[in-house]
Point group: C2
Chain length 106, copies 2
């Protein structure tokens, strides 16, 4: 039998959303590369072999909507766009590290 303690449906839902956000195709890679310091679109893209521009835009937009990434436009000529991790995004570091450890070991 499974103990039903700690089985708060709302907690489950939050957990499910979190793991499915991180596990979406390329999302983990994007956050990983940003944790290493990448801030420009092409810089992130070039560090991820195989990702398309379209998919990268889509993923960055999702991460923005989830409060993981902030998009900033610097008012220069031409305007420069940069992306940075929020505090919530930075907090994904240990999560991705634990995935790396597991992946490397197994």
């Amino acid at each position: 039998m499974v103990s039903s303690e700690n089985h708060d449906p709302q907690v489950c839902e939050v957990f499910r959303q979190a793991i499915e956000l991180i596990g979406r195709r390329w999302t983990g890679a994007i956050v990983s590369v940003m944790l290493k310091g990448a801030t420009r679109f092409c810089e992130i893209r070039d560090a991820i072999p195989g990702i398309s521009d379209r998919l990268m835009s889509e993923r960055l937009k999702e991460l923005e909507n989830n409060g993981v990434v902030v998009r900033e436009v610097i008012d220069s000529r031409p305007p420069q766009v940069s992306y940075r991790l929020t505090e919530k995004g930075e907090a994904l570091g240990p999560v991705l590290d634990s995935v790396s450890v597991w992946a490397a070991e197994w």
Copy 2:
């Protein structure tokens, strides 16, 4: 600039496969419930509100193919099927814990 150290494409690929396996719809929830001790199909299913039998079979099969879960048939009448985590599957505990911590905090 992003440092290119530790940028081993093969490591990246393993990391990507790992995070996308765990992040697939419901997979995290299934492993979570199994870590709490569930071994029977209906026991796992009943602990995950909203999952269908079809999707659960599919996910269990994927986890089996990835060496995370083992399916065992006990030769009784009627035969009993049970699922258990392999060592690789048990090792996902800390990974899922770190996701939980992040999800709860943010």
